[in-house]
């Protein structure tokens, strides 16, 4: 059997100096998790401390994927920002719920709601 291609697609959309939306599609496991982390770390380097992860096209995620989301969230918080998750599939949502991630990490129904939440929190602070 031919070696199976690992499959994780990430698209980045910069919304403002501090905010980026990452559209994450495919499968997030221990082999692809590093790739996502590189993308997140790269955004932090460029001053984006609010990251929105659009998970609507993510068909699989296991605890290795979860570990990287937790790691990225911690790094974002260290910089005064956060990671926001958007519309996970039912399987990914189940993982987020069972592991308690939904308690600590904001979850939104669509990308614009996430961006709006970040903007409002910023105004309140200002």
């Amino acid at each position: 059997m031919a070696v199976r291609e690992e499959n994780l697609d990430i698209e980045v959309d910069i919304r403002d100096d501090a905010t980026a939306v990452l559209t994450v599609g495919g499968e997030l496991d221990i082999e692809t998790a590093t790739f996502l982390h590189h993308h997140m770390a790269n955004q932090f380097t460029h001053g984006r401390r609010h990251l929105v992860l659009d998970l609507s096209a993510l068909v699989f995620m296991d605890s290795s994927g979860l570990n990287v989301v937790i790691k990225g969230s911690r790094e974002a918080r260290d910089k005064g920002g956060d990671v926001h998750l958007v519309s996970p599939t039912p399987a990914v949502r189940r993982l987020l719920e069972i592991t308690g991630l939904t308690v600590t990490t904001p979850l939104h129904n669509d990308v614009e709601a996430a961006v709006e939440a970040i903007r409002q929190a910023g105004e309140e602070q200002a």
């Binding site: 070696v3 291609e5 221990i30 082999e31 699989f60 296991d62 605890s63 570990n67 069972i98 600590t104």
Partner: protein, 131 residues
């Protein structure tokens, strides 16, 4: 069910975890499983094969066997090193969620030890209600 199950060798190579998931999903689809239950089995397969490659550090052998009311997945590795319960902490990003997922999603799971390695198995029921 007259299918007696599958055994696949999952060597340590790129794409190994995706391949283990694909094989599992294909087998369960053949047996007429609903996708919601396939997803649970596939998640646990991904956890167990990842642990075998990463913690045991050996190739893995994946068994998928039908049960009267579900499926037994089992992953054998060649290391006698025992599993260790970790307290998974979202705050600390320390990992340790794999066994936690087994506790929550499997109807039962276990570890069988032999001198030449071990086998971690988990039973996933076929219908969501009776887990």
């Amino acid at each position: 069910m007259d299918v007696q199950g599958h055994i696949w060798h999952i060597p340590q190579e790129p794409g190994a975890f995706a391949r283990a998931r694909d094989l599992t999903a294909a087998a369960l689809a053949t047996w007429g499983w609903p996708s919601e239950r396939v997803e649970v089995a596939v998640l646990l397969v991904s956890e167990l094969v990842t642990n075998a490659h990463r913690h045991a550090g050996t190739d893995a052998w994946l068994h998928v066997e039908p049960l009267p009311d579900g499926v037994r997945i089992a992953v054998r590795d060649e290391s006698p090193a025992p599993l260790a319960r970790r307290t998974p902490g979202v705050a600390t990003a320390s990992g340790g969620f794999g066994l936690h997922l087994l506790d929550h999603l499997a109807a039962g799971w276990g570890v069988d030890n032999r001198a030449d390695g071990k086998r971690v198995w988990a039973d996933v029921l076929g219908a969501p209600g009776n887990a």
